[in-house]
Symmetry: C2
Subunit: 366 residues, 2 copies
DNA sequence: CTGAAAGCGCTTACAG
DNA sequence: CTGAAAGCGCTTACAG
């Protein structure tokens, strides 16, 4: 087994030319039904599998695109969601999609970055979607390639986050700032005055959320209260550890606190754990909001008020933009912004207000 | 931009033959340093990206393998773990790895299955790992291909699970039966006599767990108590809904119950939710064990006693087996079994025994 | 150390 | 409807 049956051999055994076999394979032209049957039979009998290399070489296209997740595990539910969305869209548009992961250090000079062949070489994939954590060196290396690609933009990291402008072209973003404003305004509307923000501001997505938080606090004449220590932990816990540290710090700071805006749901869960350890309840003692709306956000008791980020839709937009990019022959395409929505659940109440016992009876195992 | 710079053009501009450019590209033979520098400069200046098609055609190998996840989302943490393990191993062994998802119906005849080009065609990937839910029709279609592949075997579905033997070749399994025995024996050791099992037995992995459960119960002279309704829900909730239904049924059955062996952790979490809704506590009122050791199993209060399945290691073994398979030129290779371990946490106690208040103070948000 | 040439397995005008 | 031939972009003996 595993012999290399080629189109030539099929042609010989079927008593036809290789062109005819090719036509049968691609149903590209009318072939006499009898000939067709004969060729098909030989293909089956020989277990012939066409070599895509040959076709691709002639076609000058791989008819395949790649989704690249950099410095993140596939287990990350956020990026997995984007990935699924892109895959569905592109598959349904008739493209083979393939995923690849990429690990790199932000300090390696762009020229030294060891990128996988699927992006450095022509012909394996026609274009790619870049997702995950994207540092400037990666961006530079990828631009050097002059290959068609689009970006999931929210996770571009590096440089001063305050200066970071959204890329005007070839990127898909989800809306960050307005949703964060709405979240803080929700807290203010519930009479909270001692509202903390907790997240590592070196991450631009957290920075943008913090900026909205500060703006609302200042407009409302409230004090800015932040825990913004650099995050050392493993991203795999999605910030849970960070949230614990943050809450410990806040409770031990001697400053007032009635509500916490956690930079993402993981941080919120961590903060929640710290509260529980102290015997404090959400939202009775402290209100808590997160960001992302991961699956677990519905499972806590009470469920978490947070911002829903439609990851699948982000993926679809990435796929769509890439397809356009492939046709655009290198012309830059305008970036896109996917809207997000605040979803109010049970983790916010006015300070001092107590929840009805009924809603407490809900399940919360994991 | 995006012009197709070829090796020929580089050669011409550098005033050398294409063979020399190829040598520079692959550092395959000694090249005069001066020539080397000249060629490198031209490559950079032209932004030349080698076309992998050409190389692959000559090499008769893609130097790339594919991990295929069938009928599962990448968001599934279990399969993501396997995937990460395979990726790490293969990448470190110098192979490009790429992932592909595959959706199919178990009722489509094998011959009609629309498999992606990456498996049907030669030359895109040299071999693949098949994971996810695998029905007989897929297996048949894939065997037809006579392409080098290995299988993650635990999720092969279809036919009578009671008759299903583990594949003797080209598959990686994790240990199921002994771990399940140990789990039930643990419950028995804690003096439980009314021990239920809950899972859909059409899934062979659940069937194997149930078989071990029955064996231990019979050996111990205890009654077999099972909830085994077919599962209609979405696999994305990993069985949580099923667990709720199961627990409702059990509690409403009028039969005794002091412990439940849930087919997996998701089912355990669902059962737990149902218990909480009734105001019942784990393990004070009912002991609960799961299977898989998903991340959330550590986060419940108390954390869940379950069986740890080392998904990353399973992935590594799959990668390793595939590499051997590639060398084996079609010869079948013996299957492998990855060991699992029962991890005792806090969700089991003797019937009626109450937990210390201290362990209750642990966090459980999320 | 280097180049001309053959050949990898296809597709596609072109001619019949 | 069909076949012989050119050519896609590489690598690799072979000869120098």
């Amino acid at each position: 087994m595993e012999r290399n049956v080629t189109i030539k051999e099929v042609a010989r055994k079927a008593g036809v030319g290789i062109a005819t076999v090719s036509r049968v394979l691609n149903s590209s032209a009318r072939v006499d039904p009898k000939t067709h049957a004969r060729v098909t039979a030989v293909i089956r009998r020989l277990g012939y599998r066409p070599n895509a290399q040959g076709r691709r070489l002639v076609k000058r296209a791989a008819e395949m695109v790649c989704f690249i997740l950099s410095n993140r595990d596939f287990v990350n539910p956020f990026h997995s969601g984007i990935l699924c969305g892109a895959e569905r869209f592109l598959a349904q548009a008739g493209h083979d999609v393939v995923f690849s992961s990429l690990r790199y250090s932000s300090s390696t000079p762009a020229a030294q970055l060891a990128l996988p062949r699927i992006v450095t070489h022509r012909g394996i994939a026609d274009g790619f979607i870049l997702s995950g954590t994207i540092y400037p060196n990666l961006l530079e290396a990828v631009d050097e390639l002059r290959a068609p690609y689009v970006l999931f933009g929210n996770n571009i990291v590096g440089g001063d986050p305050a200066d970071r402008e959204l890329r005007a072209s070839d990127a898909v973003y989800y809306e960050d700032r307005e949703a964060s404003r709405a979240l803080v305004e929700l807290l203010v509307r519930h009479q909270h005055r001692a509202i903390w923000f907790a997240a590592d501001l070196r991450m631009p997505w957290f920075y943008r959320r913090a900026a909205s938080y500060r703006a609302v606090m200042q407009e409302s004449g409230l004090p800015v209260l932040e825990y913004t220590q650099p995050y050392q932990g493993d991203y795999r816990d999605y910030g849970v550890r960070y949230g614990e540290e943050a809450m410990e710090h806040i409770l031990g700071s001697g400053q007032p606190v009635t509500a916490v805006f956690a930079g993402n749901d993981g941080i919120a869960f961590g903060a929640w754990k710290a509260l529980q350890r102290r015997g404090l309840r959400v939202p009775d003692d402290i209100s808590l909001v997160g960001f992302d709306d991961v699956q677990e956000a519905r499972l806590t008791e009470p469920p978490l008020t947070t911002v829903h980020v439609p990851t699948e839709q982000i993926g679809r937009e990435c796929g769509q933009l890439l397809l356009e990019k492939l046709k655009a022959r290198g012309r830059p395409l305008p970036s896109r912004m996917v809207p997000t929505t605040v979803v109010e659940r049970g983790s916010v109440a006015a300070p001092g207000q107590v929840q009805s016992p009924e809603s407490k009876a809900q399940g919360q195992a994991s």
